[in-house]
Symmetry: C2
Subunit: 740 residues, 2 copies
């Protein structure tokens, strides 16, 4: 189904499948050696070849290769059998002898599975940074440097990635990352429409256009529904549909009690759902806490900013205007970090049984935090500052008092009367979040870490060299003996790269998905304020796709391929944002579209009931349209889904035909042998009399009434004869009637 790429040889990676970093900091030497021995034995037991090399000062690198073809084939076969049993694949897997991984990612996934799965289930049971194996600090495959570079070069010349490009990502990094890129690609393609539409609206209609808001909301609905459709198609293409049924247990899960399952006879750890539910209720105070903590910071900084930039008129204004920005950039990330750590702890406390459930729950919590930090500032401007500034600004005197020492009485009074709402503030803020912040984010995410890494490496090398020089100079004072093992010259280059990769960060696809989701939120919620938002995002996302690939290849360890059949809980977040967008867009358009501003810049004609009525109708029309779009798209079957259905259908047909055939061959025999078919000649002689005779004969023999009922007519031909007699007899009646 999925295109199978030509099997790539990776000789530059020396056929290494996985590298395991074994770190022995804080462990006694002998114990470390024993542990390492155990690790190697376990790996060997599951048929993996190992080589050991020096890592950095306190770690050893274990190179792992699935060298035995038979063992790998069996692992592949088992994985496919499991898929088949759990309904991930429909066709029965080919026999073990011909089981080959279809792609690099499948090979790596299966080897990773073999390394990590518990021994009872036939794996080596190596658990990353956990329990017995807490010294195993990384298990990662090696980057395919040449191919990655080739791809980056290719893509920089392309506007759209092709399906084959996406297949290649999936074949290299697995379905989970493949889905992210596919999503980004779809999103980028879909952005073309609002970009052009937004640009036209901006030219012709300006901001707050009803037409743009409606077009944008409709686009959002169609995009989300289309993506669901696309997701299903891809999961069929990549043969990962329903893969979430194969849920791996979380090792951190603490069961309340062990229960012996009556049916399976297994002992299972159980944690009651009701108890978890109680713990989950803590999410409510957490969400409130997050909202208040972040809200207070944002609102305070916001108030200070307004006060300083629009009310305050004293000295140092040029410098003071930076205070809120500095405060915000100092406090907000700190508070976010605190809240994320609280969320993580809360999530640990909720004690989920599977990794998927854990991730979903954490994603939801982090989404709440992100929602507040990303959108609250604009919400404040649009729905608090603009309509209520005149009632609120006088209270900003609290700040005023604190700066009084620097301001003369006259200045302050002048400031208060002078105050008027800055109507362009909203637009400026949106531009900041959708252009500046995106660019800053890109720099923080991609360029800074890259430079930092380069610098750190240089620094390390420098230090090493200078240390060496120093030790060369003072050979007596600091006698640091050289490590006994040195890299063989032909391996030096390779080992250097592996050591470099071992130092890199882990890649987490959720962060990138979250970023896109938040970006979509700006579009859905606030783009009527400035219809060029999609244009900015279009440009940004072209770069984003490539820079994310660059990030994975150059700044992160190669991730272990993971399967997925969806982008997960983010899909719900997108839906939620689009829904909220229908409310905010309606409100924004109603409040600002008429452009009749009062003497001090606030919109004068806002009527509560009209605003609410607008929101009410827009929201429900949105829901109605969403329902219609969903129903419509659900009726179109994506090509790969259809193909999958056909395969399943063929399977069924073969099965059913085989049973039908056996049946019809039976029939022929029956037809020949059954006695009641051979009475055709005397059919005409059946009369009521003979039938009654039969019946009487039956009653004489003591058969019960039911048997007698069924013995009146022997075989269908007799029944047919009796039937036609009845019909003739009954048909005579009306004819006779007519004659009369």
């Amino acid at each position: 189904m999925a295109s199978h790429p030509p099997k790539k040889e990776v000789p530059h990676n020396n056929h290494v499948d996985y590298v395991i970093r074994y770190s022995f900091v804080d462990t006694h030497t002998d114990q470390a050696c024993q542990q390492l021995e155990l690790l190697l034995r376990r790996l060997s037991e599951v048929g993996l070849q190992t080589e050991v090399r020096e890592g950095d000062e306190s770690s050893v690198l274990v190179f792992v290769r699935a060298s035995r073809k038979e063992r790998l084939k069996r692992a592949v076969y088992q994985s496919r059998i499991r898929d088949w049993l759990y309904g991930v694949r429909n066709t029965e897997p080919e026999p073990e002898s011909s089981a080959e991984p279809h792609s690099e990612s499948e090979r790596l996934r299966i080897i990773h599975h073999t390394i990590t799965v518990p021994r009872e289930a036939g794996g080596a049971g190596i658990t990353l940074k956990h329990g017995e194996w807490k010294n195993v600090t990384a298990i990662f495959p090696l980057h395919d440097v040449e191919t990655n570079k080739q791809r980056m070069r290719d893509w920089s010349k392309k506007t759209f990635l092709s399906n084959e490009d996406l297949d290649q990502i999936r074949n290299t990094f697995g379905e989970s990352i493949g889905f992210y890129f596919a999503f980004l690609q779809s999103y980028f393609k879909f952005l073309l429409f609002p970009a052009i539409f937004g640009f036209s609206c901006w030219l012709l209609l300006g901001s707050f256009s009803t037409i743009y808001a409606m077009g944008n909301a409709l686009w959002g609905v169609i995009f989300i529904e289309y993506w669901k459709h696309q997701e299903e198609d891809l999961s069929c293409r990549w043969e990962s549909k329903g893969v979430s049924a194969l849920r791996e247990k979380r090792r951190e899960f603490i069961p309340e009690r062990e229960v012996r399952d009556e049916n399976t006879g297994e002992i299972r750890g159980v944690y009651p759902a009701t108890k978890r539910l109680q713990r989950q209720l803590l999410q409510v105070p957490f969400a409130l806490l997050a909202a208040i903590a972040l809200g207070v910071i944002i609102a305070t900084c916001f108030a200070i900013e307004i006060f300083i930039s629009e009310v305050y008129n004293g000295p140092f204004k040029t410098y003071l205007v930076f205070i809120p920005t500095i405060l915000l950039s100092a406090l907000l990330p700190t508070m976010t970090t605190i809240l994320v750590s609280v969320a993580t702890r809360l999530n640990d406390y909720e004690n989920y049984e599977t990794q998927v459930a854990y991730d979903v729950a954490l994603t939801q919590k982090i989404f709440v935090i992100n929602f507040i930090t990303s959108y609250l500032p604009i919400f404040l401007t649009a729905f608090v500052y603009v309509p209520f500034a005149h009632s609120i600004v006088p209270y900003l005197d609290i700040f005023h008092l604190t700066v009084q020492p620097f301001v003369s009485e006259e200045d302050a009074t002048a400031a208060r009367t002078e105050f008027s709402i800055d109507p362009s503030r909203l637009k400026k803020q949106v531009i900041y979040f959708t252009v500046t912040a995106q660019a800053v984010g890109f720099a923080q995410e991609t360029i800074v870490p890259f430079l930092k890494q380069r610098f750190l490496q240089k620094y390390k090398e420098y230090k090493k060299r200078s240390g060496k020089a120093e030790s060369d100079n003072n050979t007596d004072e600091k006698k640091v003996p050289e490590v006994e093992f040195e890299d063989a010259p032909e391996e030096a280059q390779f080992l250097k790269r592996v050591r470099y990769e071992a130092e890199l960060e882990d890649y987490d696809v959720t962060d990138d998905l979250r970023e896109m989701c938040i970006q979509f939120g700006y579009l859905a919620l606030f783009s009527p304020i400035w219809p060029l938002v999609p244009v900015s995002f279009l440009v940004n996302n072209w770069v984003e796709l490539r820079s994310d690939f660059f990030k994975i290849c150059m700044e992160c360890k190669r991730p272990s391929p993971q399967r997925a059949d969806t982008i997960g809980p983010w899909l719900d977040s997108l839906g939620f944002l689009s829904w909220v967008g229908s409310i905010t867009s309606a409100a924004l358009v109603y409040m600002f579209s008429n452009g009749h501003e009062g003497p001090n810049g606030e919109p004068t004609t806002i009527k509560g009931w009209a605003l609410l009525l607008t929101i009410f109708f827009c929201e429900h029309i949105y829901l109605l349209v969403r329902y219609a779009v969903r129903a419509t798209i659900a009726k179109m079957e994506p090509p790969n889904v259809r193909q999958e259905r056909t395969e399943r259908y063929l399977l069924r047909k073969r099965f059913l035909e085989s049973t039908l055939q056996s049946r019809s061959s039976d029939d022929e025999i029956e037809e020949e042998t059954t006695p009641h078919v051979d009475q055709s000649p005397e059919v005409s002689e059946i009369t009521r009399a003979t039938l009654e005779d039969d019946a009487r004969a039956g009653s004489r023999h003591g058969t019960d009434s039911a048997d007698r009922f069924w013995m009146r007519q022997k075989g269908w031909k007799e029944s047919a004869y009796v039937g036609s007699s009845i019909i003739h007899a009954l048909a005579v009646k009306p004819e006779l009637k007519k004659q009369q």
Copy 2:
């Protein structure tokens, strides 16, 4: 899984499985005979035994029995294979030789399937009232009179039906009707809470209580989510989960073109989804038409009623008040009938491929009509009459003019000034719809048809007798010859009953489901007006459950068992009503709860923005609560679902264990034969030198660098040795440092 009832013998039905009524009105006698012969031959070909008896004046009854055990077993086996392939059942079916239907309904369903399925698929291909078989006017099983009576007696003494009772219904009438009764039973049980709660609120808080409205909305959400949960449980218990995947083609489906499927090689009729979508767009004007047509009738009658009862003060008032009621009861059913027939035609035009899709679409259309006829009157009173009566009533002069001849000038004027809103009208109306109309509906649905049938039967008998008497008297004039065949005396009683049953109506479970759904709507939408609504429904539904069973048993042909795993589209309707209820309840409570009525009865303090804000918050809180309740209930696994999951798990485990076992036996062989395990004695002698030697030896033999990389350490023990050397070497460093 489902309890298998002791196999009941039904000798009083003479072992008859199905009765086929073959009617030959308007068909030439010879043709009719031929057709009948064909029918009997077809039935015989699929292994069914037949007997023919006289029906009424123009029909023949064909009695069908699956007498050949082997054939029935094969059909059962095939049905189970099909279920298994489509994922309806998880366990592979038992072999054909031991395949026995578990229940009467399974037996009947399989026989019905055999009779109706096309010949290509191995059935007899008899299509009810369609095409070639348009003379086949009924295919029905016979009622099990004794058991039905027994059950009715039992249930009249019970408050709640037990699970076993529901199983019995399912075993007799099939899953589809079983689901209806299970739903009714759940609904009845759940009504206990709002009945008690409503009664308390009515006593303590009166109408329009906020607490009652909130409790009621929460109850609605929980009930719907609980029922979904329950439905899943039942579908596992009754082994019908996922049965909707087995969709039967509609015979009326007209394909646009025949397409040869490339993969399956089959020729399939295809109708493009986009074209159907265009046709479905006609639903929008249809819904508008229905809303306007019904709306105009209802609003007009409503206006007339208000005018006559509250404004008009002239003569004949006592009689005139009945005019709107008469108009309404004359016009509304007529219009409904017209609209339903339009909806049916529209649905036919939409040309659905499967029966399920057709039914769902029709259900949706009929729901629109029902929604308007049922709820619009109360909507008008609550949201038009009460708040706006004073602006509208003057326009009722139009009516006034028409009645002017009867009214003196003074009366009319007096009437106008006298007018005040009747605040109890709303409550009266709700009481009418939830008590009176329910009782009237019950009478119309159950008692009237029963009496009518009895009466018709008596009348027929009377006519027959009098006709006979007449023909006896005037033997010369009207020479209607007696039909040749007369019932055998021992069959007479049985045949009489069969003929009676053949005359009965078909039962359609959707009608009853619709009734319940509409009833739920009153509760969700309007019960804050009169909190005793659930009490009335509780009483009503106790009767309803029994009377519906009575109706099925006594007033309808026994329905052919049909499988289902849900109550279908009504579930969505319930959800929709509950949602709308959150809006109407909020509005009603806001508008009427303060009780401050103006001088003329209208509530004075309604403020547009406050009303809308209330609605906005209540609706979103409702949606939030629904989300939470849904998430909570989704986490609780119903017992039968768990059991099913366990079964599936066991199946998988067996499969996986078998592959694992073969693996571990292989391993042992490998361990013995692989050469690189036997080097333990000389491990200690490995030094860097020997390793380097090996490497050099490798390079001499011209192996590539990757091979050399993997040849440095032979086996895991060598790796372990090298690893521990590295650890020791590296561990020395910091220790040395410390010493300095």
